[in-house]
Amino acid sequence: MRNVFSETLYECATQDPSIYIVVADISPAGSMGKFRDEYPERFLNVGVAEQSMIGICAGLALKGAQPFAYTIATFSLYRPFEMVRDDLCYQNLPVTVVGMGTSVVYSTLGGTHHTQEDVAIASAIPNMQILAPCDPLEMHLSTLHCAKQKAGPMYLKLGKAGEPVLTKNAEDPFEFGKLRYIRKGTDTCILCYGPIMTMALEIADKLTAQGESVSLISAHTVKPLDRDGVTQALKDHKRVLVIEENAPHGGLGSRVKEIAWDTGANCDLKCFALKDEFIHYYGSYEGLLEAHGLSTDRILATLQET
């Protein structure tokens, strides 16, 4: 996903001179290097100075530029939080804050490098939009959207490298602000976003093998959430599962529960999220997710118990 982001942004920059990228000492690998070499005036490296990164992006946008702030998620959203809130969201500027390696992707780096609450935190700020693509194809389309949109600030969640393509044969096209059916079924619906979609797809496959008709939805636009789409999904399915790599409060699961209550939904609704804990685990990404209770087998086992 990271490479697709860089490649797409580079392509956008060749077409649009208002696109800037402001990085905080991140290695300009791949197309990011091309961006730096070919458009040095629009590639700014502030060093390890993330508050300034966001403030400078605000200044660029106030003068008509379309900037991207780019570094590891904890340093693009948490360290300069007040700059994100005041400079970008309060002034409602079209700046994309790219959170690289979001959630617990950097499993071996420990809790200081995790953003297991980023969706909850970014969602809480007025004007902030959130895009969380699930595969390289959605990453490409999300980046194109961010490069053009003028609605306001955006938090773009990026996984790492090497995620598989999952949406090549999706039922729906990618449309900002709309739930996207990757598969359409009638019994169980899985709502998910971001790189953990790989697990959601595996669960969908297993449930299908057990004879269920399963919908799999990419809720790539976590904010503004497609309320009508969620309402309809709650109506159309006997069971709805939300799977996300986010704290158990303030993420997609919380939002779906709110909508379910507000609309009087009567389907079975189950939400699977990270634990409300810092877990000191230094193995693989999948292993850390499992330590949080998120694995295909655990989720399927929970479903069978109930």
């Binding site: 005036e41 629009r42 700014l44 502030v46 060093g47 100075a49 508050q51 300034s52 966001i54 403030g55 400078i56 992006c57 605000a58 200044g59 660029l60 946008a61 106030l62 003068k63 008509g64 530029a65 900037p67 007040e82 700059m83 005041d86 400079d87 309060y90 002034q91």
Partner: protein
């Protein structure tokens, strides 16, 4: 007044008269609200006046290619009354300051007439000013970005990040001012934070051109900017007095955020009137 004196012919006597009138206007507004940042506005009155009337280039219609950013957002009363004088804000808008049907609050809001960025939380303005100046440089615009900082906000780490980046990016079209009034909530900065000084050497070490002036001497502020080399960002360190112009406010921290009583108001009116006598 509407004195659109062209650059390089700054009239310090006219500036003194304007500043007296601006202080009086702020004083009058102080009687409409329970509290306002009067001491902070009086501290940088001459600096902001000099930027708007001496330094910012204007066309016939009064529009400027330059940008002004009040990083010490709490001092914005002086900006508001200047924008009123320039016809950018209306008298009614000022009369409705901090009221339910008004548009002006205690800190500048982006989107209001004449306000280029929302400030108020300290340590944000200089980074935004660097970004603005950077775009102007890339676009080969001739505009200058002027930014006024409080000495308190120069304690913010974010200000030093921006300080480093301004010179690293070579934004020589950035001119910043520190309203160095030596006061913050808990006392004199020189007593509570002696290591904060010296400022000039710090900024020079960070690659800025520096000047030190009496921040209430309009001509000195003007000359410091017009005499600069212009190949680096410029920091004008302005020695100022918080609450300048009204004896009981000067260097008294409580006037950071307070409105005078009717008796105090009357005394201040008389002192300001006498300032030109």
């Amino acid at each position: 007044m509407n004195d659109k004196t062209p650059r390089n012919s700054f009239n310090a006597v006219a500036a003194q008269e304007r500043c007296r009138a601006f202080r009086r206007r702020i004083l009058d507004i102080s009687q409409q609200v329970s509290a306002l940042h009067i001491g902070s506005a009086y501290s940088c009155t001459e600096i902001v006046d000099c930027i708007y009337y001496g330094l910012m280039k204007r066309d016939e219609q009064g529009n400027s290619i330059d940008t002004f950013l009040m990083s010490k957002g709490h001092g914005c009363m002086i900006q508001y009354v200047i924008l009123e004088d320039l016809g950018v804000l209306t008298r009614q808008e000022l009369d409705r300051y901090c009221t339910a049907d008004g548009i002006l609050g205690c800190h500048p809001d982006y989107g209001n007439p004449g306000i280029e960025a929302s400030t108020g939380s300290l340590g944000h303005g200089l980074s935004m000013a660097v970004g603005m100046a950077y775009v102007a440089k890339v676009n080969r615009d001739t505009g200058t970005v002027y930014c006024v900082l409080s000495d308190g906000e120069v304690q913010e780490g974010s200000t030093w990040e921006a300080t480093m980046m301004a010179s690293s990016f070579g934004v020589s079209n950035l001119v910043a001012f520190i309203d160095n009034n030596d006061f913050q909530s808990l006392g004199r900065t020189s007593e509570t934070h002696p290591s904060f000084y010296p400022l000039r050497e710090k900024y020079e070490a960070f690659g800025w051109e520096c000047a030190e002036v009496d921040g209430h001497d309009s001509q000195a502020v003007f000359d410091a900017v017009t005499a600069r080399n212009g190949d680096k960002p410029l920091m004008v360190i302005c020695t100022t007095t918080k609450g300048r112009g009204v004896s009981y406010m000067e260097n008294v921290p409580i006037w950071h955020y307070r409105s005078p009583s009717p008796e105090e108001y009357q005394q201040a009116v008389e002192e300001l009137a006498g300032a030109l006598a």
